[in-house]
Amino acid sequence: MQAIAVGIHEGALPAKAPDCLADCAGALVSFEGIVRPFEEGRAIVALDYEVYEPMATRLLQEYAAEELRCHKLVGITVEHSRGRVAVGQTSFRLQVSAPHRQPALAAMGHFIDTMKRSVPIWKRPIHLRALAAVLAGGKATRMDGRAKGLLPTPDGPILGRLLQQLAAAGIHDDVIVANDPSPYIGLAKPILSDLRPPVGPLGGIEAALQHAGSGYDAVVIMPCDLPNVTADEICALLSAYVGNPARIVMAATAEGDHPLCAIVPPSALEHVVAAIEREDFSVVRLWRALGAFKVSIADSSRLQNINTPDDLAAWQEIR
C-alpha cells in the first residue's frame, strides 16, 4: 500500500476489500459514504457529483499528508466519485491505517471534517419523479355507498388527510382514481376513471400507470380509506423503492400483505394489462408474481382501513 493514495472515479465506487497494509499497522479504519434515499425530505434516485478535479485531488493529497504527519499514520487512501451515483451505492471511501486505533480514528474524523469544508466537490440530487395514485373507485357497499374518501377525520376528509401525508413524504403530484368523480372535485386534483368496465382495484392501477406514462419513475398507490397512515410509512416504501427502482414494493404488517399500499414502476403496466386480460384480478397475486419486495410496517394500525360504519365508529372512539 502506498502511504497516500487519492483517486476520483467515474460513478459509484466498486466494492473493495481493505488494502493490504504495511507490517507495522495494528489498526485499519475504513469508512464508506453511501447515497441516502432522501435529500431535504424528498426521495432521490441518485446524486450527481461535480468535481473540480485538479484542485480536489491536490487538496485531498495535502490533507492526507497532514493527517499522515500529525497522527503518524501508516497509510491513508481516499476515493471519491464524480458523476452519477445511485441510492445505496458508495460515493466516498476513506481508509486509514496506523500502529494503533486512536490515531487512526482521530485522523478519520478530522480528515472528513476538513474535506467537507473545502474540497471542491458538489452534489446535486436527482429526485424520484413520483406520482401518487389514490384509489377511490370502490363501491363502498359496506359503507352504505358513501364516498369513502370523504369520511371525516380530525384532519379533514380522510382522502385530503392522505394527500397531506403524501406531501409530507415529498410527493406533490397526485391523481385520484374514482369512477364517480363528483365527490372529489373539491379536492382540486386530477381524477382518473378506469379504462374499461370495473374489474376492481387492478383497473384503477391500470389507469394510474397509463396516466403516469414516461413522465414518472414511480407510482405510489394508496387506498383512500386509511385514516392512520403517515408520511413515515410512505417514506419507508420510498426508501425501499429507490434502492431498486425496477422492483415493486408493497407494505406488509403482522396481519398480512397490503398490496394496495405499494410503489410500482410505470413499466409494470404491461403486466397489469396482461393480468386483467386473463381475468386474474388479484393485485397481491400479481405483485408476488412480479417479485415484489415487502416493506414491514411494525405498527399495523397505521394501515388499518375503514370498510364499514362500525369500523368508522370504532376508529373515532379510539381517537
Binding site: V51, Y52, H80, K116, R117, V119, I121
Partner: protein, 82 residues
C-alpha cells in the same frame, strides 16, 4: 486584461455558465477586484458571493492575491462532497 473565472455547482447553475469573463486592469487584478466585477457583471451570483473563496491555480488564495496572466481562477462556493 480579461480573466476567465470558473464556476461550479450551484454557482454555475445560477449564472447559467461554467465560466465568466471579467475585465480587470492589469496590475490591479486582485481577487477583491474580480469579486467586485463579478457582482456587477452577474447579479445572479450576488447572493452566493459572501460565502465564496477564490482559488488560483488550484489553491485557495486571499482577497489581496494578484492574478497574473495565464492563471486559472475559480470561484469556490459552499462545497458538499463526502
Amino acid at each position: 486584461m480579461t480573466i476567465i473565472v470558473k464556476l461550479f455547482g450551484p454557482l454555475s447553475r445560477a449564472a447559467g455558465s461554467a465560466q465568466l469573463p471579467v475585465a480587470c486592469q492589469a496590475g490591479r487584478a486582485t481577487c477583491a477586484a474580480v469579486r467586485a466585477s463579478l457582482a456587477a457583471a452577474e447579479p445572479r451570483l450576488a447572493g452566493f458571493l459572501p460565502a465564496c473563496r477564490f482559488a488560483v491555480n488550484h489553491a485557495f488564495v486571499g482577497e489581496d492575491h494578484e492574478i497574473a496572466p495565464g492563471d486559472e481562477v475559480a470561484l469556490i462556493g459552499m462545497t458538499s462532497g463526502g
